[in-house]
Amino acid sequence: MTRKKRRLWLLLLCALGLGSATALTLTAFQDNLVFFRSPSDIAREAPQPDRAFRLGGLVETGSVVRETAPDGKPEARFRVTDGAHGVSVTYVGVLPDLFREGQGVVTLGKLGPDGTFRASEVLARHDETYMPPEVADALKKSGHWNPNQGAAPPAATWNTLEPASAQPRRGS
């Protein structure tokens, strides 16, 4: 086999490898991208019913109810809010150690036809002062929190305050 022919072979193989990797990546992306939605996003535009997404916000104070399902599995119900809107969430499983009312949380799951979010995963990692970046972003968007002015306001005040009065917005 001449050098030219061999190089051709190698190039062909490389193209094949890269091509199939690209094709695989793109098709996998199509089906498996998990988008992040805040409660306001959901209120604005209902997501597809059978598609999993990540819902994030603050756990509304006083909304957490822990009970036991008929089959003995522990079930938790709570509301996730970004101030402007809230979504009810049900979760069957052990809540993470750092799950607290008023704290930032990210959940993975699907929205049911009744408007309740059925979470398959609840992430509340890190320390108590940690705010998931997506949640921080959603809070900023809904006009409830300017991180330059300190920590996020307590979740209890979120639904009673008007977005405009919650934080005097400067320069945005």
């Binding site: 193989l13 036991t68 052990v94 150690d97 890190h126």
Partner: protein
């Protein structure tokens, strides 16, 4: 006083690195023997200085010197001694210092053991290593000085993140860094070769052991990290396709490709440009990993500091080293002419296939890791890609890779025919198909695990068949023992590493059949899972050295006989006010019984119980792979000097 000595030693190391880079690169360019000769002692000097700085930091931790800011932020006097020492590298500044220490160790090793290298090559390699050290020492001194003082000193430190207080994690970063930084040496060799415009078998013979050592350490480090995630995080899983995990997987994949293509350079003097490219890529992936983990772009237990300045500096270093390397590659790669010729179906061909598939997998992981970040920054769109993405994109690439990895070692060099090779592996293929069919029969429509069992049998038995063939176990069983002793260690190492991969696949396939359940139970109640009864006996307080805990006692019974008693815990640490779950695991080697204690309410406790078939074999497989790498490293050929390419004996191949 001692922290100042450490700080001074770091500055000294910076100056010495500058000198080492200058005399190494300029000396080699001018062919000045005196300048080149100075590079090795300077490398030793850098090693001594960095080691002194590291010792000073460890001293500050052991003595709990609260005038040092780093100690205050990451340590506490109530911590056990092991975690005081490991706390020295359980934070951003300390871990970067460890990174540089290992780099200095590698430089020292090249200086000490590289005396048989051509002196210009050795000087250039040392020069490039010093350039890398220079960047990172500057980074430490400029943005992350571990010896910064704080005044007035607080009464005590703030403690180390409790989930990092674990023996597995004490050794995970050093092992991982040994891997990352080992690829700095192959990078230095690649850059030196590009400057010289020459790659020969001797070069391959030097690069291969470094690639092997780096890869073996990285394998161990990743396996240890995965094992830690399994028993410490209490989620019952072992790999989450988290960006931080991917950051270590990418250099592993590139390094795996590198050490295979280095074989071809060494034996056949082919694929030279490609090997140089892979050497640049492997270190590039290591730096990218360091950037991802250390810069704070990812939020995880690894991101100790979210200081944008640091991220920018690491990104600049990454661009400099990798951009520089690839620029040099584009400019000089033409100079390296291949000499060995081979057909597509041959050992070389199979190694090319291995490289292509490994690099494709690395590319998929890279895209899956970086694209969400890119989209967040540029498209302002927030999304994530989880395990389903990686599983669907990687499985189709992994299947041919695993198929070929069993076949490759039995193909002859240069030119081969597929059929005789397949004939030698017929019983491995048969066993693989049988395992696949058996799994489908017993477990029903579970394609993933069935494929896994088939692949595991195929890979392990093919490795056995390969060795059996080489020592003529069946054709001349009497001479087999003598032949086995004569077989080069590299051959044993290769087969062991491949079998280790098979063992790992076996574990992964077993975990594909894992089951779990979740129940709120009162003491005395029983939960059944996978044929076993788990009875909660009690939940009591159990104080620890720097935490308080609730400990459950769970009896596991198979019918009437007691299998084991498990005691999962929930620990709360007063420092940092954190809670961690300690899973209780009992392994029968066929299966892990894994119990996690959840919250307590209504007079009962939530128990999450997993039955994880074959789980321990995942990490054992990783350890076997690293062992194979070690066996290969101990091969005599790796140790003898190889100034010129010698014709390779027929029996001596890896």
């Amino acid at each position: 006083m001692i922290p100042e000595i450490g700080h001074f030693a770091l500055a000294l190391a910076l100056a010495l690195s500058l000198a080492q880079a200058a005399v190494g690169l300029i000396g080699a360019q001018r062919a000045d023997a005196r300048l080149m000769g100075a590079a090795a002692p300077l490398a030793a000097g850098v090693l001594v200085a960095v080691a002194a700085a590291f010792a000073c930091l460890v001293w500050a931790y052991v003595a709990n010197d609260t005038t040092v800011l780093n100690v205050v932020q990451n340590s506490h006097s109530a911590k056990p001694m092991l975690y005081k020492v490991s706390g020295a590298w359980g934070n951003h500044e300390g871990s970067m210092l460890l990174w540089v220490l290992i780099l200095a160790l590698c430089g020292g090793a090249v200086a000490a053991f590289g005396t048989n290298l051509p002196s210009a090559l050795q000087a250039r390699v040392l020069g490039v290593l010093a350039l890398v050290a220079l960047g990172f020492l500057g980074f430490i001194l400029g943005t992350s000085n571990p010896f910064e003082r704080i005044w007035p000193p607080p009464m005590d430190g703030q403690g180390l993140n409790p989930i990092l207080q674990d023996p597995g994690l004490a050794f995970h970063p050093p092992l991982l860094y040994l891997g990352y930084v080992g690829f700095a040496v192959t990078y230095a060799f690649a850059v030196a070769a590009l400057i010289e415009g020459r790659v020969d078998a001797a070069w391959g013979r030097w690069v291969r052991p470094w690639a092997l050592a780096a890869w073996s350490f990285l394998t161990l480090g990743i396996a240890l990290g995965s094992w830690w995630a399994y028993y410490e995080l209490g989620w019952g899983g072992y790999w989450f396709w988290d960006p931080v995990e991917n950051a270590s997987l990418m250099p592993w994949l590139a390094g795996c490709a590198l050490l295979h293509s280095a074989i071809v350079v060494e034996k056949r003097e082919a694929l030279k440009t490609w090997t140089v490219f892979l050497a640049l890529l492997a270190f590039g992936m290591s730096l990218l990993g360091t950037f991802l983990v250390r810069s704070g772009v990812l939020n995880s237990v690894h991101a100790f500091a979210n200081d944008p300045e640091r991220g920018t500096v690491i990104l600049i270093l990454l661009a400099l080293y990798i951009g520089g390397g690839f620029l040099l590659f584009a400019w000089r790669a033409q100079a390296m002419l291949p000499t060995g010729v081979f057909t597509p179906v041959s050992r070389e061909g199979s190694l090319v296939l291995n490289n292509l598939l490994l690099c494709s997998i690395a590319a998929v992981v890279l895209v899956g890791t970086l694209y969400p970040m890119f989209a967040d920054l540029v498209l302002k769109e927030k999304f994530s890609v989880g395990p389903p993405f990686f599983n669907t994109a990687i499985l189709p690439l992994a299947v041919p890779l695993i198929g070929a990895m069993a076949l490759g070692p039995v193909l002859p060099w240069k030119r081969a025919r597929l059929f005789p090779a397949l004939q030698r592996l017929w019983w491995a293929a048969l066993a693989g198909l049988a395992a696949l069919a058996l799994c489908l029969m017993i477990e029903g429509q579970r394609v993933g695990p069935a494929l896994g069992f088939g692949a595991a049998a195929w890979v392990i038995l093919a490795a056995v068949a390969d060795i059996a063939d080489r020592i003529a176990l069946f054709s001349r069983p009497r001479a087999a023992w003598a032949r086995a002793k004569g077989l080069p260690r590299a051959a044993w190492g290769g087969a062991t590493a491949h079998a280790g991969m098979g063992v790992m696949i076996l574990g992964l396939a077993g975990m594909g059949l894992a089951t779990d359940t979740l129940r709120l139970v009162k003491p005395g109640e029983t939960v059944a899972l996978a044929g076993l009864d788990y009875r909660l006996v009690s939940v009591v307080d159990a104080p620890g050295p720097n935490f308080s805990a609730r400990r459950a006692t769970v009896e596991v019974r198979d019918g009437g006989t007691l299998v084991t008693v498990l005691q999962p815990e929930r620990r709360s640490f007063p420092q940092g006010r954190m809670t961690t779950t300690e899973a209780a695991i009992h392994t029968t080697w066929l299966s892990d019984l894994y119990v996690v204690l959840g919250e307590e309410r209504d007079g009962g406790a939530v128990l999450r119980i997993h039955n994880n078939p074959l789980a321990p074999w995942i990490w054992l497989g990783g350890a076997i792979m690293a062992l194979g790498g070690g066996l290969s490293l101990s091969d005599r050929r790796m140790r003898v000097s190889a100034p010129a390419a010698k014709p390779v004996k027929a029996g001596a191949r890896a």
